[in-house]
Amino acid sequence: MPHQPQTGQTAMSVRWMMIPAVILTLAMVVFPLGYAVYLGFGGGSPATGFGVANFQRLAADPSFWSALRITFGLFLSALVLQLVLGTALALLLNRYDVVRGLVRTAILSPFMLPPVVVGMIAIVVLDPGLGAANWIVQSLGFAPLLWLASPNWSLLVIALIDTWQWTPFVALIVLGGLQSLPARVYEAAEIDGAVGFRRFWHITLPLLGPTLLTAAVLRSVDLLRFFDIIYITTQGGPGNSTTTLNIYAYKLGFDFMDVGYAAAVMIVLALLVLGSVLFFAGLRKRVSW
């Protein structure tokens, strides 16, 4: 929302109404973050002592770098897929104005499902030996696939599962953006001779910039921290092929019980998410209109 700069003091101040929310945030977010930073810097661990030892260890840890690469791979592939497919879906929905009834339910359902349930469905459907997915693949005359069990494809399969779940969400956001675009501008474009793909490229896409950015921010925050579905399906495998930073940190903390080091990895991850949000915030100026 474009806010006018404030020129005078508003008579009524309701700032105090934020206080309860601020208190919750302080107690439930700021304190744990502080504690995690304390752990990350070796607090509570007499072995390493207070310092940057955990972070130095990161730099030399091939597993960390591998997890970082995988995190980015998942983030980029899923984000691009979802934005492209979501925009395409939104354009279709907008064109045919069919967001009602069954279509609406179908569109809303996937991302309202618990990730745990999505993971469970994936386990059952994508099982290489017994799953319905391979049955379909074989019925179509192709060789059965390994799906999540293939170290080369597992990350992409995870990205596809997330895309299945969240593309409709992106589509809805984009649809909201589309429907709020000024209709007159489209009429002006029609008179100016921009139709079909040219209209999409010169008018619709640039106008959707801020909307797509919002969708990208919301999705990247989730994608960089991706956890639930991997945790349920592959637990980071096969090999390290789906060990994202979050999964790696979890393993460090809860399997290897290396809490300080796990905290260090999580701090890096949190900074990464922050960085991506700032990056998109920086883009905002360039795409807003």
Partner: protein, 270 residues
Amino acid sequence: MDNKQRTLLPTVLFSLGAIIFMSPILWMALSSFKSPLEVTAYPPSLVFEPTLENYEELFGRTEFLHYTWNSFVVAGLSTLLGLVLAIPAAFAISWHRMVWPATVSLFARMAPGTLFLLPWFIMFSNLGLSGSYTALVLAHAVVTMPLALWILLPYFDGMPREVVESGQIDGCRGPTILVRLVLPMIYPGVVVATIMSFVFSWNYFLFALALSGFDTKTAIVASFNFIGEGTTNWGALMAAATVIALPPLVLTFMVQRWLVAGLSFGAVKG
């Protein structure tokens, strides 16, 4: 374009889309009515004699009903708490045209959830709240509050300031204005925020895994037991998944019209 083509193409396209998005969910529901032998049959059977065996296993042999109730309590109360905090905050943020609080509330969503587990556990243990509903509700409010805030802000921003100003002139104070004048105007936003908060709280499993106690375990956490009980009991697993998936799907279905409108997250313009 003649009329037939006009309706045929989108019909085919959207049916295909609906199949892609719905079929895994339907497959889950279908599988939950298969007998243990049938559920792992290959090639999978589409025609079979439905059985309630899996649900009997689920509700009979485990305390799944109790866990489902826990899920309702935690999701319901954390939604309530989230809204009670987010509504006045969103009002204040919108009225004073502040930018930073909404951004800060995003921070809660930036850190990986696993990062919170241990600090929270220690915190709640020291407060004697470990394993209580209170701890779970507070933890889940960290999910619901920012979500509600983000959904509500565009609604507050879209409300004419004159309404509030005329309320002031009529001698009302902030809270009265909020409750009497503003909320009735933005109730579709409140509905969307409520549904989304409830669903996301219901869906969240990590916090409950660490913070729930013997009596407060949620259905989602309990459902993990079906992965890894000797052999994976796919039928019971799918029954549990279906039961867990039901409330979000039913809620979505009930308020779908408003959800579609409310999910733009103020994405409309810069």
